[in-house]
Symmetry: C2
Subunit: 179 residues, 2 copies
Amino acid sequence: MYEVELKVEADHDAVRDRLEALGADRLGVVTQEDTYYDAPHRDFAATDEAFRIRRESHGDEAIVELTYKGPKVDAESKTREEIETAVESGSDADAIFRALGFEAAAVVEKDRDRYHLNGYTVTLDSVDGLGEFVEVEIEAEEVDDAREGAKEVMMDLGLDPDEQIRTSYLGLLLGDAEE
Amino acid sequence: MYEVELKVEADHDAVRDRLEALGADRLGVVTQEDTYYDAPHRDFAATDEAFRIRRESHGDEAIVELTYKGPKVDAESKTREEIETAVESGSDADAIFRALGFEAAAVVEKDRDRYHLNGYTVTLDSVDGLGEFVEVEIEAEEVDDAREGAKEVMMDLGLDPDEQIRTSYLGLLLGDAEE
């Protein structure tokens, strides 16, 4: 399975109207605060890896997850190894990694308002310091068909898939050029 | 608060008889499997630190904990900074640290049979590859008084506190000399 994802910068108000008109199911808002770490022994920007603590809250529920993202496994699909486990305490996990020499390099905070539409997940992201974005994504075996479908969803929402941004929010915050 | 701890090597059968005769409360057996990691950027043996994943089971219950132990803060008390948090998956946490360049250096497996006696915790440890040990410990503000009390408990159990071993089980397994 591949995760096919398109992301564009877009004001949310018009997109929300379109989602309602198209009868999309609203899944609710999740708040994510991701702290990305620099390693003491490896340059993650050069190795194309990432290591982070995610604090996610959804109403009264809160979870903390530890995530490692490996480098892209090929040039085309943006597929990465991703290893994740929940931890009880984000502050204790942070203290452990700081003691080991890791340093918090950047924090990405966003509110994610998620909808389901025609089998796709449409996410309205409000990212602190960056602005408003819309992501259309799906898990699929057939990457090409899924990408065409995601482009159609984008157009149904009044968005231009050619304005796709491939850089992560972390990369945008750190000022990385388009990948 | 300090954790005052005395440890000696001792056959358990005679100690169990003494614990029962003295009316100690048995708390039950816990199994611990501790995987200690080498760091890619730091020699923990030289810096007197440790980083491990502990898998602990007690009947049907199982927990996994991530622990960092800092160097001893002074020469006398064996006090260390210890930071710990539970994680959901030991295998995912292990995979994350291996991906970051940490390597499993040693595994310490033991069954711990714990008793309460006169305010002290008496633990009968059966350590794979090392043998049987008895630990007497207490948390206290007054280290000297607590240590004298722990020695008395040792003697009540028919053990000689002068045979105290100060090296950790990890250190003993790795063949470290007495600290």
